[in-house]
């Protein structure tokens, strides 16, 4: 995609959108907050805050239990939120959306409830070196506990992932391809549709970590034909403590329970137990009801602004920031795949990412410095860590300049003392 300059979009008004996010008025160290840590978590707009307040003020009770008025209202709100997620991902069926605490729980659920019973020692799981730890550690569990073999697929020096490399890693023993849809470090958007096609041609299911891609790309799980898709709410401008697993209906039906407790059963006796159908089977205990309502409001907000327009805006910011960072000496950008989301990892020669992040913070610029929960990728690129600037729908061209200004400041501190 060739990004359109923001100035040519007559309608997209980031400055107006910023007014929807109360926290963006914060000043840090006497300077306006420039929040560029969106890949870690996004800020929350007033419609989300208001929806949560309205719900707890007027409609809150536990769900799926009481017959009273509030329980009915809360159940309606909670199941509407599920349908909102279904529409956001364009899943075919309401019961294909399982609410979780976040993306991490969604992936762990698939590892523990779907894949674990299917793993024999020597069976293989294919994943890329640019996975987040949340899409690595659950598979390591299966290696440690059941003798699964992890097969790692490399990326190019630019951070591109060749779907053909995934295909070549498949063997008759491959049980799952677990792959990110967008790297939280490099920004690389993977060709998930092609990866799924290649894996399915060998009868292998695909789980995609969509925690970043759901925020910045267009996601249609039916078009992708992906088997499992994990998302998290707090990166989507929604609350923490809520995420979702999309799973194809047949997979979820064939999946054993996750946590045990209330709500996930059909009948419990002293001798035996039968389980509820999906998605309830995987939602033991009181679910994150308030958070689900907040997430639904966040998805409404995103679609009101328009996902394609947000994406164009973010791409333009990313292109500008990339170009300006490259104009500085001693800056190395890590991850320049042609298909890339608004996430820029970079290194400043001779400056540790934590020192860089501290100096940027003194300028009011919030970036993440460190390994970004992707240590295998850090090793792949032979860095201890990187600084990462990531953009959201409310960031502006002026904030790109503030980032550049702050990086220059850091160079000045380290070069001149």
């Amino acid at each position: 995609m060739i990004p359109q300059p923001v100035s040519k979009d007559p309608v997209y008004d980031a400055a107006a959108l910023r007014r929807d996010f109360p926290i963006l008025a914060t000043r840090v160290n006497g300077k306006p907050l420039v929040y560029l840590d969106n890949a870690a978590s996004a800020q929350k707009p007033a419609p989300v805050i208001d929806a949560v307040e309205k719900f707890v003020t007027r409609e809150y009770a536990n769900v799926h239990r009481g017959v009273h008025f509030l329980s009915s209202a809360a159940t309606e709100a909670y199941e509407s939120a599920r349908d909102r997620v279904r529409r956001f991902l364009n899943a075919a069926h309401h019961d294909e959306i399982v609410f979780t605490r976040g993306g991490t729980e969604a992936i762990n659920m698939v590892a523990s409830s779907w894949l674990a019973p299917r793993i024999q020692p020597g069976d293989e799981i294919v994943l890329s070196v640019m996975e987040h730890h949340s899409n690595i550690v659950p598979w390591h569990f299966l290696r440690e506990r059941q003798g699964a073999v992890l097969k790692w697929v490399d990326v190019s020096g630019y951070g591109e992932l060749d779907p053909g490399d995934i295909a070549r890693a498949l063997s008759p023993r491959t049980k799952l391809v677990a792959i990110t849809h967008m790297s939280n470090v490099l920004g690389t958007e993977t060709n998930l549709r092609e990866i799924v096609r290649l894996a399915h041609s060998k009868g292998v299911a695909v789980l995609a970590d969509g925690c970043q891609a759901a925020v910045h790309a267009q996601v249609d799980v039916q078009e992708l034909d992906v088997d499992f898709y994990a998302i998290t709410g707090h990166k989507l401008y929604g609350p923490t403590g809520i995420g979702a697993l999309y799973g194809k209906r047949d997979h979820l039906k064939a999946m054993r329970p996750w946590l045990g407790g209330g709500e996930m059963i059909r009948e419990v006796t002293q001798e035996s137990i039968t389980y509820a159908d999906p998605p309830m089977r995987f939602e033991a205990g009181t679910p994150p009801i308030i958070q689900a309502v907040g997430l639904a409001a966040a998805l409404d907000y995103i679609d009101t602004v328009g996902r394609e327009r947000i994406s164009l805006h973010e791409h333009a910011l990313t292109a500008a920031a990339t170009r300006k960072l490259k104009e500085l000496n001693g800056i190395r950008i890590i991850g320049e795949a042609p298909a890339k989301g608004p996430i820029i990892s970079f290194e400043a020669t001779g400056i540790h990412p934590h020192d860089l992040a501290t100096i940027l913070d003194s300028e009011g610029v919030a970036v993440r410095g460190g390994h970004h929960c992707a240590q295998p990728l850090m090793r792949r690129f032979d860095v201890m860590g990187t600084a990462r600037a990531s953009f959201a729908l409310y960031n502006t061209a002026e904030e790109v300049d503030a980032l550049i200004h702050a990086v220059v400041q850091a160079r000045r501190v380290f070069d001149n003392g």
């Binding site: 934590h354 400041q409 003392g417």
Partner: protein, 162 residues
């Protein structure tokens, strides 16, 4: 400044200037007593899993419990490397008990607490690290090498500052 054409208008925050003062940057660029000590009696590695920084402390301690030699190795941010470098300058010739007392004083210094435990000359030497107290998120960087040093004194294999 050849690295950038637009540096003229920059200003610098005072607390940041203190944190990254010239002595700190000098130690981070040119760390003292850097590299493994072949003839060591004690060694431990400090690891900060949050940022991935690692530092190894090597010490040669004689039978009387006196530190005859000390060095460090590893990778880290300017604060953690400078802190390790400054530490090694002070430890040579100290007893184990003195080293532990020094560590207590240093921890107090970087947390902005009472440092009356420190000998005046030690406090003078370490004072350049006092700016860390204004950056609570960076205290772990400053203390990493010291925790590794303590672990080495106890013959432990590794120490973490979390």
């Amino acid at each position: 400044m050849p690295w950038c054409r637009r540096a003229g208008y920059l200003t610098m925050d005072d607390s940041l200037r203190e944190l990254y003062q010239e002595v700190i940057l000098d130690h981070s660029r040119h760390p003292r007593h850097f590299g493994a000590l072949a003839a060591h009696t004690n060694m431990a590695e400090g690891h900060n899993p949050l940022c991935g920084d690692r530092v190894k402390i090597f010490m040669q301690i004689d039978s009387a419990g006196r530190i005859q030699d000390v060095s460090f190795d590893g990778r880290g941010c300017a604060i953690s490397v400078a802190s390790a470098s400054l530490m090694t300058q002070l430890l040579k010739g100290r007893t184990v008990a003195e080293a532990e007392r020094l560590m207590g004083g240093f921890l107090a210094l970087v947390k902005g607490e009472d440092t009356t435990d420190l000998e005046p000359s030690d406090r003078e030497h370490l004072q350049v690290m006092a700016g860390v107290s204004a950056f609570p998120m960076r205290v772990k960087c400053a203390t990493l090498a010291w925790h590794a040093m303590k672990a080495a004194l106890e013959h432990k294999g590794g120490a973490k500052t979390e």
